[in-house]
């Protein structure tokens, strides 16, 4: 059961957030053999496709560094760029709205929907709309939102949240999808992916034509021209933004780029990083509503700029890097942790490495304090990130805030009660460790005790149940073999002592 975590009025509300259940969700995910099989296959495939795609690009690092500096520059003057964007877009006839928090954003969209007597809204995939809980707000107002991205449609029918930023149904096997559609549409379904896709095409076509409102996100907002760019493969975004009379786009404020030409490097790198394609099927640049009544397309275009806690991340150069994210999902696909547990275990619409840093910073550490620990700090995410976000660095920073409070700001340790309790016992353990490491004698003494314990436990593994971390280790791994002595107590180490040092 999903219980909403915070008030949508509060800044930093993330819908359906249950990231504090991470400890419980992880064993469930690990025990789910189907899920692990699906994840292994999917992440392997995407990883290989990405690698192939990048081999074809001259100077990937150069391209990456261009993308990084565009986003860094955009964030460095975010207020100016947002104002420029608003001015340009408004002059072009786009209605620009500002929403400080989730509730504000939903209210704006609802207002537009109701004014236009909307009964049915078609939705293109938008993580931001998931973040603010827009679908539920629409349903509460008696409006039916239909997801049109194939993966989103599937999880909508399954009444599940998406498990991946780009491929929402990546955790489902084909026959699960077949059975789901057969149940929901109440007729037999084909077995193959092409057949199932054809079913989706057919089912959703009518909705596109009937909907009064089309809702989308936006991949990039261009300050210079007041335009925004939407990237896709399926064509549902084109339909969502062409057929209904009114189009509303919701976008995080961090989506801004300064110039039209900035789109070049970003488009060039985003799809290769995401799916391994050289370029996605469709990029649609929207600048104005139709200028001729005979033309196709919406009569009204609205763009909602959402803050919801993002502006706070700009306080610090390191945390500000989080906002460079262009939502390509390369970090999810490479992350060995995500590969083991999938997206749902993170309990947030933003899973994986980016989710582990974005979610706690937006929703607050108390709501997601276990996520920064969900990493071995391997750094693969940073290596594949097209905008070079120092994800491991931010994870370390968040761990520090959770465990001790931030030294530089003097804040207190942040975290929910359970994590705070765990952190306290961890701190006690490390206080002992620090004392033990504080002198060579103690170091050698406790090393010797450790070797002795290791010998004993290897003989009697069941003893570890009395010591938490050791029990966790021996559940699946053996204790290392004990050497007879340490390095420093041996003859060689004695020979190597610096002059004038007879003992430690």
């Amino acid at each position: 059961m999903i219980t909403p975590k915070a008030d949508p009025n509060e800044t930093g509300y993330i819908h359906h957030l249950h990231a504090d259940q991470f400890d419980d969700l992880v064993p469930q995910a690990l025990a789910n053999v189907e899920l692990r099989g699906a994840l292994a296959k999917a992440t392997n495939t995407i990883r290989n496709r990405r690698a192939t795609a990048l081999e074809e690009v001259d100077h990937f690092q150069e391209l990456r560094s261009q993308a990084k500096s565009i986003k860094t520059e955009a964030l460095a003057h975010l207020d100016d760029h947002l104002e420029t964007f608003e001015r340009q877009a408004t002059a072009n006839g786009i209605h620009v709205h500002w929403a400080a928090d989730a509730k504000s954003a939903s209210a704006i969209v609802l207002d537009i929907a109701i004014k236009n007597k909307t009964r049915l809204a078609v939705k293109a995939k938008s993580m931001v709309s998931e973040e603010i809980g827009l679908n539920d707000a629409l349903i509460d107002a008696g409006i039916v939102p239909v997801e049109t991205d194939l993966g989103e449609w599937i999880v909508q029918l399954a009444e599940e949240p998406p498990s991946h930023i780009l491929a929402p149904a990546i955790h489902k096997r084909r026959r699960e999808i077949r059975d789901l559609l057969a149940r929901v549409l109440d007729r037999p379904m084909p077995d193959d992916a092409a057949g199932l896709t054809e079913v989706a095409r057919h089912e959703l076509r009518g909705h596109f034509a009937q909907a009064e409102l089309g809702i989308s996100g936006a991949n990039f907002l261009v300050a210079e021209t007041g335009s925004f760019l939407l990237i896709e493969n399926e064509g549902n975004i084109r339909l969502t933004t062409s057929l209904p009379r009114v189009h509303v786009a919701v976008a995080g404020i961090e989506k801004i780029v300064p110039r039209l030409q900035d789109l070049g490097p970003l488009v060039r790198i985003i799809t290769r990083s995401a799916t391994g394609q050289a370029i996605s099927c469709y990029q649609t640049l929207i600048t104005k509503p139709k200028t001729s009544p005979e033309d196709d397309g919406p009569e009204e275009i609205h763009l909602v700029l959402l803050d919801n806690g993002r502006s706070k991340l700009l306080e610090d150069d390191l945390t500000a890097e989080t906002l460079r994210c262009i939502r390509c999902s390369a970090c999810l696909n490479i992350c060995p942790v995500y590969r083991q547990i999938g997206g749902h275990a993170y309990g947030s619409v933003y899973p994986g490495p980016i989710g582990a840093i974005f979610t706690p910073q937006i929703a607050g550490m108390h709501a997601a304090s276990q996520l920064p620990g969900a990493s071995s700090l391997c750094g693969a995410c940073r290596e594949v990130c097209p905008v070079d976000i120092d994800i491991p660095g931010v994870l370390l920073h968040l761990r520090h805030r959770a465990a001790e409070g931030d030294r530089s700001t003097g804040d207190h340790p942040e975290g929910d009660p359970l994590t705070t309790k765990k952190n306290r016992s961890m701190r006690r353990g490390f206080r002992f460790w620090r004392w033990a490491m504080g002198s060579s004698r103690r170091f050698e003494l406790f090393g010797a005790i450790g070797r002795l314990l290791a010998t004993v436990i290897r003989q009697v593994p069941s003893l570890t149940k009395y010591a938490g971390p050791l029990a966790s280790w021996t559940d699946g791994r053996t204790i290392p073999r004990s050497p007879g002595r340490s390095f420093r107590s041996g003859e060689m180490a004695r020979r190597l002592r610096p002059e004038g040092q007879d003992r430690a």
Binding site: P336, S376, R382, E404, F430
Partner: protein
């Protein structure tokens, strides 16, 4: 202090940072590290005031505990390079070498300045041999079939990728095969390994499933914590694959050093 070994020309004086784990739990690899360096003509100095670089606490976010420990290591090593006549610091661990870079931000004032000196002078073993000493062949002999595991910190923070491979390829009798999961994390990650044990062992399994298809005798790494993790899981799975530290292979000289199952 004297130096046993072939070379009569001393190239450099090296301060050894042996790492807490190798010191207490893998002394044979620590001694192998020294042997290799001495064989290559270095004079090695080991200052026993050293204990740990502080990384375990730092990774857990506990700066209060990490700082005093890290500072201790930095001061000892800095002393060795500024007053002890050491030309460089060598450590048989990529993660510890990388930690000294973090130390620059972690420590304050004079200690931060010392940390910078230490970080600039510190090399991981394979990187030192290949890039500093320009040695590929260290006269080692180790018959057997192995695969190399790229430890994360060494690979991604220090850029170590080709060096260990070149060193291994030059080992007499060694058959080095490439593992397709070589750059995947072993799952250790410090406290991660016991906080999230299911994920940690799952990550190890991911690699081991593939390693088992390669027909290797051993998995080789430059990081003792990775070895501890992989060996723990290999043994629990009843695998015949052993874990070996790079230094142990590079120091091996007799043909009888083949590991028996």
């Amino acid at each position: 202090m004297g130096i046993e070994g072939v070379s009569s020309l001393l190239l450099m004086r090296i301060a050894l940072f042996v790492t807490c784990l190798m010191d207490q739990f893998r002394p044979e690899a620590a001694e192998a590290t020294v042997s290799v360096l001495e064989h290559c003509g270095c004079e090695v100095v080991f200052d026993p005031r050293q204990t740990c670089c502080g990384q375990p606490a730092f990774n857990a976010g506990l700066h209060q505990e990490a700082i005093p420990v890290c500072r201790g290591a930095v001061r000892v090593l800095d002393d060795q390079i500024t007053r002890g006549g050491c030309d460089a610091i060598v450590t048989p661990s990529g993660s510890c070498a990388a930690m000294f870079r973090h130390a620059i931000e972690l420590l304050d004032g004079d200690d931060a300045v010392a940390a910078k000196r230490v970080a600039e002078a510190t090399h991981e073993l394979s990187e030192f041999l290949v890039r500093r000493l320009e040695r590929i062949d260290v006269g080692a002999s180790w018959p057997g079939r192995v695969a190399w595991h790229d430890a994360c910190h060494g690979l991604r923070e220090l850029g170590i990728k080709s060096e260990p491979r070149r060193l291994l390829e030059a080992v007499d009798g060694l058959d080095l095969v490439e593992s397709s999961t070589c750059d995947r994390c072993c799952g250790f990650g410090g406290t991660f390994s016991t906080n999230l044990p299911g994920i940690s062992t799952g990550m190890a399994d991911d690699k081991i499933d593939e390693l088992e298809t390669l027909g290797i005798d051993a998995i080789v790494s430059g990081d003792a914590s990775c070895l501890m993790q992989l060996e723990g899981r290999l043994e629990a799975r009843g695998s015949r694959i052993r874990g070996v530290h790079l230094a142990e292979i590079l120091a091996a000289r007799e043909t009888l050093t083949r590991i028996n199952s």
